[in-house]
Symmetry: C2
Subunit: 222 residues, 2 copies
C-alpha cells in the first residue's frame, strides 16, 4: 500500500479501527485468562495460564505504544469495541476450567486468524506491529495437552467441548459481523482493497478450516 | 551473610520459604489485580490496573527463574503458602472497585514492607533478586488519585475505606503470624540472625508506621 493511501482519511480510520479492535481484544483476553488462571486446578497450570495472560498484555502494550507514536488516541480507538467484546464474553461464559482453556485456545485462534487476514490490506508499518501483536510463540500449546488429558479421563467431555467449540466459532463470527456492519471504514478496507465477495467467502472458508484444524489438534470434532 | 551459612540446610530452607512466599504472593496479586481490572469503571483505569498486574507477573517470573537457576523447585517452594494466601483473600474480598484498589495499594504495601524487612537477613544474591521483585517503580501511585477523587465525591467512603484499611492490616498480620508459626526455618532466620524480641517489636512498629503513612497518602485515617 503506497504512502498516498496511508494519508487517506478513510484508510486512516480503518487502521485506527483495526488497531483498536486488536488492542482491546488483547486487553480483554488478558483479563479473561488471568481470571481463568485463578480457577486453575494446579499451581503449574495457574502459572502457565498467567504466562499466557501476560503475553496478551505485552501485545496490548505494544499496540497502545504504537498508536501513541502515531498520534492515535488508543482509548478512542478501542471505544467502539467495548460492547461487541462484552457481548461475546457474556455469551461465551465458560462453565469450568477446561471450557475456559478451550475458549482461550479456540476463541483467540479465530480472532488472530481474522486479524492476520486483515493485515494483508494495511501498510507495512501497521502490518509489522500487527504481526508482533499476533505472535504468541506457541505459548498456548500447553492447552492441547490439558484438553487431551481431559478427554481421556472424562467420557462426557468430548461431546460437550465439541459443542462448545462450535458455539465459540458462531459467537465470534456473529460479533465480527456486527462489527463489520457498524464500522464502515474497516469493511471498506476489504472492498477498497479490491476484494470481491468471492474472496470474502474464501476468507471465511480459511477461518473455518483453521478452526477445524485447531479443534482437531485438541482432539475434538469441529 | 557468608558462604557457609548459605550452605547451611536451615538457612537454605528459610531462603526457599522466603522466595516461595514472595513468588506466590506476586502470582496471587497478579490474579487479583487482573480480576479487579475487569471491574474497572473506565478503560484508562482498566489499562492502569492491568499494567500493575503485569508488573506483578514479571516479578513473579523473575523469582521463578531465579529459583530454577538455583535448583529450587518453585512449585514446591510456593506450596506451603497456597492456604494462607487463599485465607487472606477469602477474608478480604473487596466490595466494589475502590476497595479493590485500596487492597492492591495497602495490602501489597504491607506485604512488600515485610519482605524488605526479611531481606536484611539473607545473602546478597537473594537480597538482590528480592529487591528487584519488590520494586514497582511507583506504578501503583495512580491509586492515590482515584481514592482521593472518590473521597471528594462520596461522603461515606472515608469511614468505610479507613475501616477497610484496618481490616487489611489485621488480616495480613494474622496470616503472617500463622505462617511464622508453621514455617520454623523462616522464623529462625529472624532469631538466628541475632534478632531479639525487642527488634521484632520494632519491626512491627515500622510495618504499622508505613501502613499509616500509606493510608495518609490515600487521604484516610489508619
Amino acid at each position: 500500500m503506497d504512502q498516498t493511501s496511508i494519508e487517506d482519511p478513510a484508510y486512516h480510520a480503518a487502521v485506527v479501527d483495526l488497531l483498536g479492535v486488536l488492542a482491546y481484544g488483547e486487553l480483554t483476553a488478558f483479563i479473561r485468562m488471568a481470571v481463568d488462571s485463578d480457577a486453575a486446578p494446579t499451581l503449574a497450570l495457574k502459572s502457565s495460564l498467567a504466562g499466557l495472560a501476560n503475553t496478551e498484555y505485552a501485545q496490548y502494550r505494544l499496540l497502545v505504544d504504537h498508536m501513541a507514536a502515531r498520534g492515535i488516541d488508543a482509548e478512542v480507538a478501542m471505544g467502539p469495541f467495548l460492547v461487541p467484546f462484552a457481548a461475546y464474553h457474556a455469551r461465551t461464559k465458560p462453565r469450568g476450567w477446561v471450557e475456559g482453556l478451550v475458549k482461550a485456545y479456540v476463541g483467540d485462534g479465530i480472532a488472530k486468524d481474522f486479524y492476520r487476514e486483515m493485515s494483508v490490506f494495511v501498510d507495512d508499518d501497521t502490518r509489522e506491529v500487527m504481526a508482533s501483536a499476533l505472535d504468541d510463540a506457541g505459548e498456548a500449546e500447553f492447552v492441547v495437552r490439558v484438553v487431551r488429558d481431559t478427554l481421556k479421563t472424562d467420557p462426557t467431555a468430548s461431546g460437550r467441548l465439541a459443542l462448545w467449540g462450535r458455539r465459540l466459532l458462531g459467537e465470534a463470527l456473529s460479533q465480527a459481523q456486527a462489527v463489520a456492519v457498524e464500522r464502515d471504514a474497516m469493511s471498506a478496507l476489504l472492498v477498497g482493497g479490491g476484494v470481491d465477495l468471492g474472496e470474502v467467502g474464501r476468507m471465511f472458508t480459511r477461518l473455518t478450516d483453521n478452526h477445524q484444524a485447531r479443534m482437531a489438534r485438541l482432539g475434538l470434532s469441529a
